[in-house]
Symmetry: C2
Subunit: 497 residues, 2 copies
């Protein structure tokens, strides 16, 4: 048995290392690649996807996994490796190599077209690329045949074991609760906070972000901060975890909070167990857990009064002309404005999940064939009106705002909501474990929180599956209750109740 496991590791390590090259190809494409490089990049991505697929479908890997079925005697990390290897192998053998190659190529080609379409507000430029990606994702869902509906196969890629039928009641409950909260709040917290609207030079915003990143424990020796069309985090391994952000000249908050969001992802990746870096056990366990880390730092930390107490003087120092008198409570109001806005990543905590509901509905309809690409803008406008009470006037702030579809990442969006729910549960557990948390955050001391997250979540990699991790950390299963209660209490306090 140990011998079979050692041979299994011999299969898994090169796959993980080759995935490091794929991660770099993806990062570079978004951040560094010149426009004319798109064709070669797509070919290279496709060739590497094919190599990894061949490794994953290797019959020898399959028979090793069959031998390892009664996984008694293996340590927890080894059991996780068997579990994840089996999952990856079983997914891969269902997918024809041509589909794998075509998907990698189509996604690589679609990304720069999406970025240009977004810049030019030109849906027609992006539509044929999305149609191509969608066609391939439908084939992928059919080939995988996971769960009860096509969407399950895609969801399962990002959140192993998650099923649409289990998510729908959660999303329904959220929609009811959030819409009710939004109604109760009305315009009370919607007003802009004067000094935070204006002219913020990008160079100084970059300085600010670097200072905040260092404060929350992001290790620049093991990472970088760059700019891209859509902010993201990419890991080439725990020693090389890169963040991107984007800036608005006239508002300092979107760039700052998107950086804090990505910091949450990056802290998770930098904290994964380095001793397992070449195997599945050393990787992030699910995107829901990943988003719990980004949303925890962005919202529970970034938008709480204690952290604003530390952040306000930093903002005063960085922008003395404009923010020289910024008071912490002004900052708290500014970062907790509540009102429907078109851009998801700039949405407040109440409306954010309504953006996800909208996307989930559109993605399911695209997958099932009820909706075609040409119909997306109209449906988007209609759902934005219904869920968010918003009139959308262009595609740039509508279906062109997110990179995910161009990358073939249909089925990803629900993990943001799962992340919000996990984050609220983890936050409650952290507060119980760390009685001085507020005092620490008010002084910009985040080491205690990060240490707790490292011990409870990051350092566990994929040793526990997401649902088991949630129970290990919080003693309970995933539920929307903590999140809804968190919002009720928070906005109650902000309303002065």
């Amino acid at each position: 048995m140990p011998d079979a496991y050692a041979r299994l590791l011999g299969h898994l390590q090169p796959i993980q290392r080759l995935n490091g090259a794929r991660a770099l190809l993806g990062w570079d494409q978004e951040v560094m690649m010149p426009p004319a490089g798109a064709r070669s990049r797509a070919d290279t991505c496709a060739a590497l996807a094919e190599v990894v697929h061949a490794r994953l479908t290797d019959p020898e890997l399959g028979s090793l996994l069959a031998d390892l079925l009664p996984a008694d005697g293996l340590a927890p990390a080894a059991r996780a490796n068997v579990r994840e290897a089996r999952r990856a192998h079983e997914r891969a053998v269902r997918l024809p190599v041509t589909l794998v190659r075509d998907l990698a190529e189509a996604a690589s080609l679609a990304q720069p077209e999406w970025a240009r379409a977004r810049d030019d507000d030109d849906w027609d430029r992006f539509a044929p690329h999305l149609a191509r990606v969608l066609d391939l994702k439908r084939q992928e869902a059919a080939a995988l045949g996971i769960g009860d509906e096509p969407y399950d196969s895609l969801l399962d890629e990002f959140e192993p074991g998650a099923r649409t039928a289990d998510l729908l009641p959660i999303f329904r409950r959220l929609r009811v609760a959030l819409t009710a909260l939004l109604d109760r709040l009305g315009p009370a917290l919607a007003a802009p906070v004067e000094p935070l609207v204006g002219d913020f030079p990008v160079g100084r915003q970059d300085e600010l972000n670097r200072r905040v990143l260092s404060t929350v424990g992001y290790d620049f020796d093991a990472g970088r901060l760059d700019v891209s069309t859509h902010p993201f985090t990419e890991s080439m391994g725990p020693g090389d975890v890169r963040i991107t952000t984007r800036y608005s000249e006239d508002d300092v908050l979107p760039g700052l909070f998107s950086t804090l969001h990505e910091a949450g992802h990056a802290l998770y990746e930098q904290g994964l167990p380095a001793e397992h870096r070449d195997t599945p056990a050393g990787q992030a366990v699910s995107l829901g857990i990943h988003e719990s880390q980004s949303r925890l730092w962005e919202n529970h930390v970034g938008r709480c009064p204690a952290f604003c107490h530390w952040l306000a003087p930093v903002l005063r120092q960085t922008f003395p002309e404009r923010l020289g008198r910024l008071a912490p409570d002004e900052l708290v109001r500014a970062v907790n404005r509540v009102r429907s806005t078109p851009i998801r990543i700039e949405a407040d905590e109440v409306t954010y999940n309504l953006h996800i509901v909208l996307r989930l509905e559109i993605e399911r309809a695209l997958l099932s064939g009820d909706l075609e690409v040409a119909g997306v803008p109209a449906v988007w406008r209609s759902l934005a009106r219904e869920y968010l009470g918003l009139e959308i006037w262009d595609e740039r702030t509508g279906p062109l705002q997110d990179i995910h579809w161009s990358m073939g990442s249909l089925g990803y969006f629900p993990t943001y909501t799962l992340g919000n729910l996990y984050a609220a549960m983890f936050w409650n557990a952290a507060r119980s474990a760390l009685p001085d948390l507020d005092r620490d955050l008010a002084a910009g001391r985040t080491a205690g929180l990060l240490g707790w997250l490292r011990a409870q979540i990051h350092g566990r990699g994929s040793v526990l599956a997401a649902a088991d991790l949630c129970r290990a950390v919080t003693g309970r299963s995933l539920d929307a209750g903590d999140f809804i209660a968190y919002l009720e209490v928070k906005y109650g306090e902000l309303m002065g109740h």
Copy 2:
């Protein structure tokens, strides 16, 4: 036969595409990667080297190549593909996969250590990494068994078919001729040119380089300019050819001429036949030819009076405070100073090849076992005294100055000299074909020259082997005569004879 050739292409294309990923891993490591990423990067490079090695040694590829032996009926590009595929296959089958993997790993690990050792002038930091690389390169040479001495196996990697025994008489002739020329010139052209020594902000140097790159025809839509410890050019395909440079705050010329050197490499790569981009026929044919392009733009163009006539006003505009009165003839003197200096890439055209002779001698001794790593600094000092009349006081300006050994590129240096010789021959051919060349260069018009290079050299990729390409372009075989005559005439004119 066409069927066997079609199947051959099916083998070659993925290899070329995977090499695009390796190129990116290398570029990123030098330019973008954070320090803590070194370990994962080395693992990824090794894993990918192993994948490519497996493809190159695939027995099916071997038997296809055997079938294609009588390559009648194939077009020239197809014949080149068979030729290059056979060469790559035969090299690969002689190399154990463990050696291929170890070399990729050792080179990847050694590069950041070299960069830090160079910064800190710390030979002892680099020495164990070089010893590891050297040990593996000796194994590689022994396994390949090409030519008459170990060095031949390494030389052949960069300049297919070149043999040490053929190079030595050329290098001897050069050493005699160049030493004699250096003696004749004495200190006549050695003096610094006053306004060109001083304070040149890096931002403005960057602007200058971008302007010069655009002028010579470098396509920024298909490339980038960045900064690295050692300037280099890396191609991920003809649509993505990236240049790096480095700057001295107190001298504008090293950064400018190193950029012009890399521009020559990049123009070659951007001009390779895109229709063959996924096969060997679409790649650069040898490093000697590659260096002919970099040295042609750096020296024959960059240091000629006509181009200086265009460049002087550009320098005046870029640095009006310091260079506002720079005259073209002052610039000609400044870029054609002749005197021994320790840094190869800043050397004048006369002493440059003496730097190569020194390296060739050390590399051969390392390979044969006559010299060990610990002895390199002392031998370097002694040869620098003998060949260049220089006292070297640190390793930073001695054996730590070049990146090549850290990358495992032993055997590369002679191609710089081959490049100088090819460049002089190509330059003579270009002057014959382009009667208005001087007038064009004086006006910053380089399209005629670039068009000629594209038609004669770049666009031919590897269709003709290097020696055949030289004959096709110049009507003659490689010889040092043109180069020596070029220097004699040039410095005769500069001395006013």
